[in-house]
């Protein structure tokens, strides 16, 4: 079975768009992250339910005009979010 990615629940996050960057406070970890697109959008896409990488890519394509739908790049983005603990692999 493909790995599922689960994002921190929306009520555990405080999101403050700053300018091009978005500041996110994660209540569970006490950490602040400053992130550029597409990280906030990925968190948003995973907010409702955990998805595997392919389903996530499909959802991003549906929600946005996705310029570069490259699975390898999405994997790199997800790795970064997993590292912060904002996304969990299951």
């Amino acid at each position: 079975m493909a790995t599922l990615y689960r994002a921190a629940s929306p009520d555990s996050l405080i999101v403050a768009p700053v300018d091009l960057l978005t500041a996110i406070y994660h209540r569970a970890s006490g950490q602040t992250h400053l992130m550029a697109s597409p990280a906030p959008e990925i968190l948003d896409a995973l907010a409702e339910a955990p998805l595997d990488a392919a389903a996530l890519l499909a959802k991003l394509r549906a929600d946005y005009d996705l310029v570069d739908a490259d699975p390898a790049v999405l994997a790199a983005r997800l790795d970064e979010l997993v590292e912060t603990g904002l996304v969990e692999r299951r």
Partner: protein, 286 residues
Amino acid sequence: MRHVFSVAIGPVGFRVGSDWRGPVAALERLYASYPKPQDGIADFTVRLFADRPWRRFFRPKVMIGGDFVLPEAAPLSLEHGLLAAEMAMNLQMALGQRRYLLLHASAVERDGKALVMTGLSGAGKSTLAALLMTRGWRLMGDEFALLDPETGLIHAFPRLISLKNEAIAVMEAAATGGTFGPLLAETPKGAIRHLVPDTRSVAAMFEPARPALILFPTFGHEAATREVAPSEVFVRLTQASTNYVALAERGFTALTRLVAGTPARAIDYPDTESAIAQVEALWASL
């Protein structure tokens, strides 16, 4: 401890114990006009002590202790005991302050609004604040500005102004009639002389002010003023704060609110006169 001194600096109470009379005598003279901690209970305790009994007398070395310590602190000579006390009080704030978001910044106030200046040591934020004090501004603090997460207001922390090297002569000329501490030569940070904030700044130390401008000064270039992107202000202020992470959600809320509501500029300045003019011009344009 043998010699004891206590003082309130803005909303924070300190108690200093010392193995020697000297540092306490200097503190008593310079902080003479300051109130004592509320209820006689200090928020932080500082200890100046000899690490071996004979070090009280023989080549005395002042060790810095207190509620919060850094393990690698180097001792100072007894002549620099006042500096040791000041550094130890600052250290308690840097490591132990949990009520206010602590910004490593100087702050001055006019018309109930605060100008907050932060930057590299050597950028002149301390000297600029002291100079502005001599020109009609109220000094809120030359080292730390305290942001209240509940109200978004800046609280004053007007400890002794710590003048270093060239700034000493500048302020001796500008603050005629001011009360100065002894000249401390050849400290680990160079020459240091403390200046007592003026009467008005001390008298108003419990009055907070709404932040109106955040300034990042840099010394040594042609006069210039730039806008600073909010995200850059945000990151720089997290790094100018020793307790941002420790304040958790309160810190985040306080800082995002500050950044959203306060204009920020970076200024380059070739000399202090230009800097003062740039500050006044910016302030007038708000």
